[in-house]
């Protein structure tokens, strides 16, 4: 199949998926969820007040129009206003994206670099004591609740030792750094465990391939094989794994942001969840779904561009 046709078809498939996402969000938040006017007006609201507010929010219109609103917001990014703060949601998102990224990008880059280095090291010593103990350590780290890391880290390093800021944020380049250092450190601790396990499996999958045996038979050294042959081939699943994580970086880190008082998208989402702020929850769900869909298309296209084997079949 021609590669351009493939990419075109892959792009076309975005439309039904996006419509489906809007349908699920519409069903969950417009159809089956409790009446938002009841939450907004409290228990003592009269039926009249509720009907008025429902009209104001456009909730008394036909279901098709309401569904169309959801679809429209997915394309225009016009999500209306928050129920609780009355702020424009698109503005909230623009403001929240930067604090989120100042935490997630450094965390992501650091964790990836550390995890790939460790997994190359353990693959080199595969089956030996070092490999086994690092894998066991990673599994143990994965088995601890992420909330426990955050609670302990904040209490011990920021509160007890006073090495880092406990919580808060300042906008602007060098000013935000002291506030994000500890969250980044915890992010790295949280991601290194699962990442090393994933990369190690990928690298070991390649090490047992025939071409590695050939390279070894040619008399190449283990290091050359690992870096020049194995890593090159393992790059494809590694890149896929990395690209598919990017939408989650934009969305921020829910727990970390709320614990460290970072005014990012993760924090906004959690506040919205706690106050049943449906438009904001819907907006974040749509935003993350759109980001996820776009990046999975990018992954698929990258895959075909990088790997000639995929293109041929």
């Amino acid at each position: 199949m021609n590669i351009y046709i493939y990419i075109f078809r892959r792009l076309l498939y975005v439309i039904p998926v996006l419509l489906g996402v809007c349908l699920i969000i519409y069903v969950l938040f417009n159809l089956v969820s409790p009446d938002p006017t009841m939450i907004m007006l409290g228990k003592h609201a009269t039926a009249e007040q509720m009907a008025e507010l429902r009209h104001e929010l456009g909730l008394d219109r036909s279901w098709l129009l309401q569904y169309f609103d959801v679809v429209k917001s997915a394309f225009t990014f016009d999500f209306g206003r928050s129920y609780s703060t009355k702020q424009l949601i698109s503005e909230m998102i623009m403001q929240g994206a930067i604090p989120s990224l100042t935490l997630t990008i450094p965390g992501f880059v650091l964790a990836t670099m550390i995890a790939i280095s460790i997994s190359l090291l353990v693959s080199f010593y595969r089956g030996k004591f070092l490999d086994k103990s690092i894998v066991f350590l990673c599994v143990t780290m994965v088995s601890i609740s992420s909330l426990a890391y955050i609670l302990f880290g904040q209490w011990f390093f920021a509160y007890k030792l006073g090495v880092f800021e406990i919580s808060g944020y300042e906008y602007g380049f060098p000013y935000f750094i002291p506030y994000v250092l500890l969250p980044i450190l915890i992010w790295v601790l949280l991601s290194v465990g699962p990442d090393v396990r994933f990369y190690r499996t990928i690298i070991l999958d390649e090490i047992y391939q025939d071409y590695v045996r050939t390279a070894r038979a040619k008399g190449l050294g283990e290091t050359t094989i690992l870096f020049k042959h194995v890593l090159k081939n393992a790059m494809i699943p590694i890149i896929t794994y990395l690209v598919i994580q990017i939408p989650f970086l934009i969305l921020g880190a829910l727990l970390l942001e709320s614990f460290f008082g970072i005014p990012g998208l993760g924090g906004i989402t959690l506040t919205a969840i706690n106050s049943s702020d449906f438009p904001v929850i819907k907006a974040m769900a749509i935003l993350s779904a759109v980001a996820y869909i776009i990046f999975s298309v990018i992954t698929d296209v990258l895959y075909t561009l990088v790997d000639p084997r995929v293109r041929l079949s």
Binding site: I25, S145, A148, A285
Partner: protein, 299 residues
């Protein structure tokens, strides 16, 4: 051939004549794996504790005040007491019941949904496949936290909502895997043979194909079990967790107010209790994968 066999000792002859099935091989390698056996033992202990607390035989008195508020760990109360003077150790043991029931129900629910949709999508292909693939692609595009939140909005708070919310959001990965495996298997000769002797779709799918993809289901089961136990903590933090009964999630969540007062024992007890069971399921999952995945044989 006869002369060779005649010279072989009796025990060796046995191995020449009989070949083991995949399950016998897997069982054999699991038995030899000390780590896997330890993990299995831990799972069994937790399951027994959960059943005993469920029956009220152990930690039935968790709600009784045994001391003053926030007593530090001592010999009489190994993990100290909580805000109401209740024993943290008893609460932790009682929490095993909630954790194991959440793990089990989530793993079973996601297994049923995942296997059912994955199997029919892979087996029938065509329009059925397209619709199911579209559905799970769509479903997995929405972050699971939003789905969890909306499901608890609909069902209200409580244990049932937690079971359903976690179960209904965790089937996609298994569904994908099963679909792929069934597609690989459905045109194989043994399935054609089953069709040739008059087996219908249901027979071919459930009696012939599914046993061959069962290893994926088992590995996934142990994976989902521990993910659910960990997710309960996040749900508790969001205020959507278990109400009115001690769970590890609520205990860890309580620590956000306690740590500043120097009360670390509730966090420590719940985290440790969770660490061992989640670690055991992780190790067991890895051991099962090594033992059951035919592709990994000989590595």
């Amino acid at each position: 051939m006869e002369t060779i066999q005649a010279t072989l000792p009796a025990a060796q002859q046995e191995t020449v004549q009989k070949s083991k099935s995949l399950w016998q091989h897997a069982f054999g390698s699991l038995i030899k794996d000390k780590m896997a056996l330890t993990a299995l033992l831990v799972v069994v202990i937790y399951a027994v504790v959960a059943i005993l607390t469920g029956l009220g035989l152990v930690a039935g008195d968790w709600a009784v005040e045994v001391g003053t508020s926030y007593e530090a760990p001592s010999w009489s109360h190994i993990f100290g007491t909580d805000i109401f003077g209740r024993s943290v150790l008893a609460k932790t043991i009682k929490g095993a019941e909630i954790a194991m029931s959440i793990g089990l129900s989530t793993a079973i629910l996601s297994m049923i949904i995942g296997v059912f949709f994955g199997a029919i999508a892979g087996y029938f292909g065509g329009k059925v496949d397209e619709i199911i693939v579209w559905f799970y692609t769509t479903f997995s595009s929405i972050p699971s936290i939003m789905l969890l939140v909306s499901i608890t909005f609909i069902l209200g708070k409580g244990l049932l909502a937690v079971y359903l919310a976690l179960g209904l959001t965790s089937w996609v990965s298994l569904c994908r895997l099963i679909r792929g495996e069934v597609i690989r298997h459905k045109d194989r000769e043994y399935v054609q043979a089953a069709g040739a002797i008059g087996g219908g779709h249901a027979r071919k799918l459930f009696i012939h194909i599914l046993p061959n993809v069962l290893h994926i289901v088992i590995i996934n089961f142990s994976l989902q079990f521990q993910i659910a136990i960990k997710s309960e903590v996040i749900l508790s933090y969001l205020g959507l967790g278990v109400q009115g009964r001690p769970s590890w999630g609520t205990m860890i969540d309580d620590a956000k107010l306690e740590l500043a007062r120097g009360v670390w024992w509730q966090l420590a007890a719940a985290t440790l209790a969770m660490l061992f069971i989640v670690l055991a399921f992780n190790l067991l999952g890895d051991a099962l994968r090594d033992a059951l995945d035919p592709k990994l044989k000989g590595k």
